[in-house]
């Protein structure tokens, strides 16, 4: 193997701005430096007080975190369920209009969700899911579907036909074959998609804010956004700390599951 020095140097240089930003973010949450000062000074844990005491007028951070985890987890599960079955049908089953459906999945992504919010609201309202976490979960999952379907379809394409044939020959139904034979083959892809959807749900702000404005199920993004609008008491360092608190779990998640996440690509074409 050849030396990795050159890419390392280039990458390091390119990453300096980003690294600096986040480094200073980290520093600011533990010090009392003024905004704009380059030299940090005065260590304090004051900005992290929200961890052990509720901020006045705000929900408990741990409750909010739990809500967020629940929200992200359910959304992820739903995305996995829906896209794994739909992608299989598109990849492997002989159904009319597969081409159009697959193209359609991509086109879906072209619909700007924010501008469709009003209509989405009306539908949720009609089916009685407005102002419920379930409603937000469903919408978020629908938004993530196109990506999920495309990614998983690529992976299904790489599963050897022979093992599916073998299972059918052994007497299994197509559905059973999918569940017990094919699905386990794309586990890496499912893991990747799961992590990706989790990240996406974790950072979702608009949907919970608009579609579940009730106080009962606040998520972290909404909690965080609540901190800025207060222009007379805006506490930048506190905001940064909460922001960091919000980022850290998913960052850790990425570092831990990076191997799995690197399986986002399952091929798809031979041309």
């Amino acid at each position: 193997m050849r030396s990795a020095k050159l890419p390392f140097v280039i990458l390091s240089i390119l990453s300096v701005p980003l690294a600096l930003m986040y480094l200073y973010l980290l520093i600011d949450t533990f010090t009392i430096s003024e905004p704009g000062s380059l030299m940090p000074r005065g260590f304090t844990l004051e900005h992290w007080r929200f961890l052990w005491q509720d901020l006045p007028g705000r929900a408990n951070i741990w409750q909010v975190t739990l809500n967020t985890i629940i929200f992200a987890t359910i959304t992820t599960t739903l995305v996995l369920l829906l896209s794994s079955s739909a992608a299989y049908a598109l990849s492997r089953l002989n159904i009319p209009g597969r081409r159009i459906l697959l193209g359609g999945a991509m086109v879906l992504h072209a619909f700007p969700s924010v501008t469709l919010l009003i209509a989405i609201f009306l539908i949720l309202q009609y089916v009685g899911l407005y102002d419920t976490i379930a409603g937000v979960v469903i919408i978020k999952a629908s938004l993530e579907l196109p990506l999920g379907i495309w990614i998983l379809k690529g992976f299904y394409d790489t599963v050897p036909w022979e093992i599916e044939m073998a299972a059918i020959q052994d007497g299994a139904s197509r559905f059973y074959t999918w569940r017990k034979i094919v699905l386990p083959q794309i586990k890496p892809a499912l893991a990747a998609l799961a992590i990706f959807s989790f990240l996406a749900s974790w950072s979702e702000y608009i949907l919970p804010q608009v579609l579940a404005p009730g106080n009962h199920a606040q998520v972290l993004s909404v909690y965080l956004a609540g901190l800025i609008a207060d222009d007379s008491h805006f506490d930048m360092a506190l905001f940064k700390s909460v922001g960091l608190f919000y980022v850290l779990p998913v960052f850790a998640l990425f570092l831990i599951f990076q191997k799995q996440l690197m399986n986002m690509y399952g091929g798809g074409t031979k041309g």
């Binding site: 905004p35 704009g36 006045p56 407005y130 608009v210 956004a225 609540g226």
Partner: protein
Amino acid sequence: KDYTISVVAGGSSDADSYRTEAIAMAADILMREAAVAGESLNIKVEQRSYNNWDDFKQAVTLAAESGKAPNIVVTGHEDIAAWAQSGLIVPIEDYISLDSWPVNNIYPNLLNIASYNNRVYGLPQDAEARPFFAWKDHLAKLGYSAADIDAFPDKIATGEYTLYDMLNDAKKAQDMGLVEPGYGFYPRVSNGPDYWQFYTSFGGQLQDPQSHRLVFDQEAARKTYQFFIDAVKMGVTRKNHIGTPWDQWYAEVAHGKAMFWHGGTWHYARYTGKEGLTDFFGNIQFSLIPAGDRSGKANTLTHPLVYLLTDQKNDDVQEIAAKLIQIASEPRINTLHAIKSSHLGITKEQLNIPLYANNRWAMEATERLLPYASAMPNDTDFGNFWNIYWKGLEAAWTGQKTAEQAVKEAVTELRATMANSVIIR
């Protein structure tokens, strides 16, 4: 009888907690009254505050569409027009008598601001004004004597000291090195009602008093736009001032980094609180916004929040809610909010409440500003109207367009967007 009354306040931070708590207190009083009268009444008040206006309005309108509107909404008066027309809210005058206490003690111009189509839809929840500020020490160094400085607000009120005089002083201060370039005149960092004050300073009018139609005064707009172009040209205001972070801005103005600026009465709380300015009156002079030129007049703008009553399709509930609003407007209760959040009172009697009377800022600001305060009109088209005005201002300010061009485009857009409902002069 059991009632659950929900009250939701927009744009509220911790300091504004009395916006909703006042209703809870009112409920307590109303229940006691009922008990004394031998009726059984049980009211539960649910409170909720939103920091963010957009989220708040979205939530309220969507909730209303889905039939889950909160009973009482605390919001800016400008929402009345749209919400009244859509039937989201009902006139409060249908449930309480305007001649009763304390409604009859509320400043009539505030009550006017809470009206639409000649009907009173809500009661003002607080008042404020948007003063012009100057750093006293810089004024002194420019050569103003202590007496001059004390007389400064009067000179402005009479129109003797204009916006362009201010620019010249700002330039001088910068040249003398009192403040850094760009800090001579240091306006609000984002769009807001404040920018209508300059339009008014240059003689602009927002609404035709007879027809109640919106008015776009081309000359006033042009002058306003030109004023900011000139400020940039003179170097006393930065071209890219809009978008400066609020906390940076607050820190700067509270510590004399700027010569002149403008803000809101509630800034007092921030300067003396979080920014740690101990001697406000020793350092800062405040006044009306100066007149633009000799033809205009000094002014300020108030942007009261109002208690609104939503349509619950149930008169009994609405009546209870209306009564709560009425009680919450009692001078004593309202003063809690006014002082805690550095807003101004809504009733005349508040001047006699010790908490209020002992607050120098509240008293002085009320006296100096409130009588001259105008407000934005309640009109369903006002939002559009405002956007167009602001777009022109921003384009001129940042040097994208000349004042004339900006006005011309604004007019084109006004014509295209709202044809009949706006008078273009």
